[in-house]
């Protein structure tokens, strides 16, 4: 199985440990074997260990260490935000965040919706069973 996601300049990655957990960042330069210089539109450029990054499929076209405005423009052109939110990985994270931020009333509504959905599925199943019998 060859590798598909590479550490390269312009690779978009997700921070999966530490203070910036859950943030999408762009690899802007490689310090050495273990660390990369990483940048995002709303944070100071900093170095971060590869162990804290999960590489994504998205890659943007930038040169080494671009200026902040160049980076933001390149991210807009590549439409990173929409690509991320439409990917299955990104959608999963959005749903997880929404579920974690529900209040009690919301959870009550979810419970009612689940019961309703279960009821509809059971009705269809009963119909199919009767047709097969």
């Amino acid at each position: 199985m060859p590798f598909k996601r590479f550490v390269e300049i312009g690779r978009v990655a997700l921070v999966n440990y530490g203070k910036d957990y859950g943030r999408l960042v762009v690899i802007v330069d490689v310090v050495d074997q273990n660390r990369a210089l990483v940048d995002a539109p709303d944070m100071v450029r900093c170095q971060i260990n590869f162990k804290r990054l999960s590489l994504t499929d998205i890659k943007i076209d930038i040169k080494r260490v671009p200026k902040k405005t160049t980076l933001i423009k390149a991210m807009e052109e590549a439409d990173v935000k929409n690509k991320w939110e439409n990917s299955s990985w990104g959608k999963k994270l959005i749903v997880q965040k929404r579920r974690a931020s529900l209040n009690d009333f919301d959870r009550f509504k979810v419970m009612l919706a689940k019961i309703k959905r279960g009821g509809a599925i059971r009705q269809e199943l009963a119909k199919l069973k009767k047709a097969a019998a």
């Binding site: 199985m1 590798f3 996601r5 590479f6 550490v7 390269e8 300049i9 999966n16 440990y17 957990y21 330069d29 490689v30 310090v31 050495d32 210089l37 100071v44 450029r45 900093c46 170095q47 590869f50 162990k51 590489l55 040169k63 080494r64 260490v65």
Partner: protein, 178 residues
């Protein structure tokens, strides 16, 4: 970034003025220490070896911490050092890639401790410099100078995002590929 163990200080000192020498020469040193107190002590240690002056007949005029001017760009640092091994003193030249000089110095101390079992008191930094990438000598740093650097991350260990979620036993064998 993470707090550095080693800070760079500029220490300026001279011998106390005496009746024979009204204006003694002032010496300045840049050195690395964990705090200011240790920096002043290290200053006297080095000055004693170079000039006939001790802390008891000298005074420190200024001590300032030196901060990195551009902590967001990567530089190649060359460090010349003199260290004491079990058999004698040796000189060494090492290269590191880092964003700040303090980070490179910290890398150097940890590498010397691991590779040569040399601890902090036995290492003296002779000189540090930012090296232009054309003048780097070590292949280890030169391999990161390619402008189109690209490599996959092999052997990805999935870590829990906080230490609280760490478990000793796992239900299934973790997938190390991606």
């Amino acid at each position: 970034m993470v707090a550095f163990r080693f800070h760079q200080y500029q220490v300026v000192g001279r011998g106390l003025p005496t009746p024979t020498d009204e204006h003694p020469k002032i010496y300045r040193m840049k050195l690395w220490a964990t705090n200011e107190v240790r920096a002043k002590s290290k200053f006297w240690y080095f000055l004693r070896k170079l000039k006939k002056v001790k802390k008891s007949n000298g005074q420190i005029l200024a001590i300032n911490e030196i901060f990195e001017k551009n902590p967001t760009t990567i530089k190649n640092y060359g460090i010349w050092l003199r260290y004491q091994s079990r058999t004698g003193y040796h000189n060494m030249y090492k290269e590191y890639r880092d964003t700040t000089l303090n980070g490179a110095v910290e890398q150097m101390y940890t590498e010397m401790a691991s590779r040569h079992r040399v601890r902090f008191p036995c290492i003296q930094i002779i000189k540090t410099a930012t090296v232009h990438f054309k003048l780097c000598k070590r292949d280890n740093t030169k391999q990161f100078h390619k402008s189109d650097i690209k490599f996959p991350l092999v052997y990805r260990k999935v870590r829990p995002p906080t230490r609280k979620l760490k478990t000793t036993f796992k239900a299934s064998r973790p997938n190390l590929f991606m």
